[in-house]
């Protein structure tokens, strides 16, 4: 089967600091991969490098996404190709309504494919349905993007956006941090509903918590910018029991 994502010997830094020291793995359609690691191991940097954050510099290596040289593309082109990042701490955009924000993104993607803009009323209905997947308060959709949102509301909003954008690969950067058990179940349930045999997930997390609800096919342990161990879902449980020190 053809890979959705193939990462080869990826080295990256932020400013003068080298963070990633050679990452290799590949993701196939329908797979869920988890990247686990302690704080400061480079998990979020990996997510940002893949999405094209301007503060990340790639020093070496290649990344192929849907057959394209991902690292050569501007962030919006990556999004237009079907890469989605659920942010750990998404930015606030005062004065811009969440539904308008999503519509601007969806229309930009559609235009890149020479498609017409979405029908506004139809899109409103779509958003309402997608919000139900994560039990998102529908009033938040009419509010400014992330402004005054609680931690949990931000997470739900990110997963709702994933549902709206229907990406080929969604990178979820700590979708569970700061969530209580009920919220966690809700978010995880939402993620599970969005899984298909064609799309893939890359979940970045410190703890096993979310992985007991969203079952991964592969777990990679990232320490000091390198994947030190890969395994199946049982590895996550092992980390839960023993911590990261034994690697």
């Amino acid at each position: 089967m053809k890979n959705i994502l193939t990462i080869n010997s990826l080295h990256a830094s932020i400013g003068d600091k080298k963070i990633l020291h050679g990452i290799d793995f590949k993701i196939q359609p329908g797979e869920v991969h988890a990247i686990m690691g302690p704080n400061g191991s480079g998990k979020s940097t990996l997510a940002n490098v893949l999405a094209g954050h301007p503060s990340c510099k790639v020093n070496d290596g290649t990344v192929e996404f849907q057959g394209e040289d991902l690292l050569a593309l501007a962030p919006e082109k990556r999004a237009q190709l079907g890469l989605f990042l659920s942010f750990q701490n998404p930015a606030e955009i005062p004065g811009v309504r969440l539904d308008h924000f999503m519509r601007a993104g969806i229309n930009a993607i559609r235009r890149s494919k020479n498609l017409d803009d979405v029908d506004i009323l139809g899109f409103d209905r779509t958003i309402t349905k997608k919000a139900e997947i994560v039990s998102m308060n529908p009033q938040l959709i009419k509010r400014s993007v992330n402004e005054g949102f609680s931690g949990g509301e931000k997470k739900r909003s990110e997963i709702m956006q994933m549902a709206v954008f229907e990406p080929m690969l969604a990178i979820l950067d700590e979708p569970d941090s700061g969530l209580d058990v009920d919220a966690l179940k809700m978010v995880a349930g939402g993620i599970n509903k969005l899984r298909t045999k064609d799309n893939s997930l890359l979940i970045i997390t410190h703890y096993n918590r979310i992985l007991s609800y969203v079952e991964p096919n592969f777990v990679h342990v990232l320490i000091d910018g390198k994947i030190v161990h890969s395994g199946d879902k049982n590895l996550a449980q092992e980390i839960e029991n023993k911590g990261y020190d034994w690697f």
Binding site: A51, G52, H53, P54, S55, A74, P75, E76, R78, A79, Q80, F84, L85, F87, P90, A91, E92, I93, P94, G95, V96, H100, F101, M102, A104, G105, I106, A108, I109, S112, S144, V145, Q161, F165
Partner: protein, 484 residues
């Protein structure tokens, strides 16, 4: 840079200002220079009554003495070479005598059509009555008769002087006296036309009223006055738009707007100002030195100014409200954008005189390129103004490293029951905001425009719908190439 990109770049640069053409039209133009003869000539041209000529001459004499004393308003945070008032042409108008819209010069009509303001009976904008001003004169006023049926008087200033002299004489200069400031004084001496509007008691004006200002002739200054009176229990929403050709010279636009709101009346006055801003190197552009003031004369009256200022080389204007009536309300919503070498010194003055008066100021400044943007505001609470309230918020957004934002709020309170709030912040469009938008598929330019529109939203939502769309688009066009 490859020649292809170079060409594209230049194309983009000249596309920046889309209203920069000149209309070939046969004009009657006064000789340049300011003297008593010119003032008399303009007054005669307009067949004005004696009282108006005398008022103009008083203003002219005051102007002369101010110039002699060197009394130029020099406190604003703007820099420009001294204006040579003797080089300005004070009157220029298309030659034909206009009795009806059918007689308007075809080229002039085309100009307004190109600007999106068709004036012909068949094509005119639904829901908006327009007074179109071309250089020194009003070309046409649409829906005049429809409005008259409800007792609403809406016509050019010149016509009002002939048709409703008592109203004009009663209110002219009652809000902005001819001694107010040098540019208002100059305007009083040489104003050539403008719009006049009177809403009778109890009438809610069914249409948006608007004036569109177009400068066409080279070397002229545009000096027009707007006088708007909303009588008891009436309501009116008024809009103003402007544009001018691209020229290397600086042209002066020194307008005066006077608003009077009687008991329970409400006036909403919106401006979308898009005068030619000058080229990339700061050459040319309009000097927009405008005095706008409203007086809430009656109890429970309300005046609300909304302005979107994207054009002009220099903007110098402070739409203000004098709150005389008890419980009266004054509002000021502003977006001012400066890019290239544009300078803006703009804000408002809220003077609380009546009891329980309220004012609200929301000012948003956006600076890009070498643009300099100053908010200047005064909130004054007089000694009898019990329970006065003011809320001020002035925010600045910086794009790039070479622009500037300045905030100069003044407060004078003489009554201890006053309650004033002030909020201000300066920010940049953050990398994380841009990246978030790009990650959702938007280009850098789209992302910038989305974020900037969000920043301006509180002001845009005050505009009538079609004009909010226009303002959004204008902001996008103005920022093309200025960000990224």
């Amino acid at each position: 840079m490859s020649t292809e990109t170079n060409k594209e770049f230049r194309q983009k640069a000249t596309e920046d200002y889309k209203y920069g053409w000149v209309t070939p039209v046969d004009s009657e133009t006064a000789p340049s220079g300011l003297n008593e003869d010119i003032v008399r000539w303009i007054s005669k041209k307009k067949n004005e009554p004696d009282w108006l000529l005398r008022w103009r001459l008083k203003a002219f004499n005051h102007f002369q003495s101010q110039i002699k004393k060197g009394q130029l308003p020099d406190w604003a945070n703007v820099k420009f070479n001294a204006i040579d008032f003797d080089k300005i042409i004070y009157y220029s108008a298309p030659k034909q005598k206009l009795e009806s819209i059918d007689e308007v010069d075809e080229e002039v009509l085309k100009t307004f059509e190109k600007l999106g303001i068709p004036l012909g009976e068949q094509k005119r904008l639904a829901g908006v009555a327009v007074d179109a001003i071309f250089d020194s004169v009003s070309i046409a006023t649409t829906f005049k008769d429809t409005l008259l049926k409800q007792g609403i008087l809406f016509c050019s200033f010149s016509e009002a002087v002939q048709e409703y002299p008592e109203l004009v004489e009663k209110y002219l200069g009652s809000v902005v006296p001819y001694t107010d400031n040098l540019y208002a004084t100059l305007n009083a001496a040489v104003f050539s036309d403008g719009s006049f509007c009177y809403i009778p008691p109890g009438v809610r004006c069914p249409l948006e009223l608007s004036t569109y200002f177009r400068i066409n002739a080279s070397g002229i200054g545009q000096f027009e006055r707007t006088l708007l009176i909303a009588d008891k229990d009436s309501y009116v929403s008024y809009l103003e738009g402007c544009s001018a050709p691209m020229r290397d010279e600086n042209q002066l636009h020194a307008a005066v707007v006077e608003l009077v709101a009687m008991e329970n009346a409400e006036i909403k006055y919106s401006t979308i100002q898009n005068w030619y801003p000058g080229d990339q190197n700061g050459k040319g552009g309009i000097f927009n030195f405008v005095t706008k003031r409203g007086v809430c004369r009656g109890d429970n009256s309300k005046i609300s100014w909304t302005q979107v200022e994207t054009g002009s080389a220099i903007t110098w204007k402070y739409p203000s409200v004098l709150l005389l009536g008890d419980n009266s309300i004054g509002e000021f919503y502003s977006v001012a954008l400066t890019k290239g070498y544009q300078q803006a010194d703009t804000g408002t003055k809220m003077t609380h005189v009546g009891k329980n008066t309220k004012s609200k100021i929301i000012a948003k400044g956006i600076s890009a390129g070498h643009g300099q943007n100053t908010y200047r505001g005064l909130v004054r609470v007089n000694s009898k103004a019990f329970n006065a309230r003011n809320f001020t918020q002035c925010d600045s957004l910086l794009i790039g490293e070479t622009c500037g934002a300045h905030t100069t709020p003044y407060v004078e309170v003489k009554n201890s029951s006053a309650h004033l709030e002030h909020e201000a912040y300066t920010s940049r469009v953050s990398e994380d905001q841009l990246f978030y938008c790009q990650q959702r598929g938007m280009s850098m330019e789209d992302a910038n425009s989305l974020i900037i529109n969000g920043f301006c939203k509180e002001v845009f939502k005050q505009l009538p719908f079609e004009f909010a769309v226009e303002a959004t688009r204008l902001l996008e066009v103005s920022l093309e190439g200025a960000v990224g």
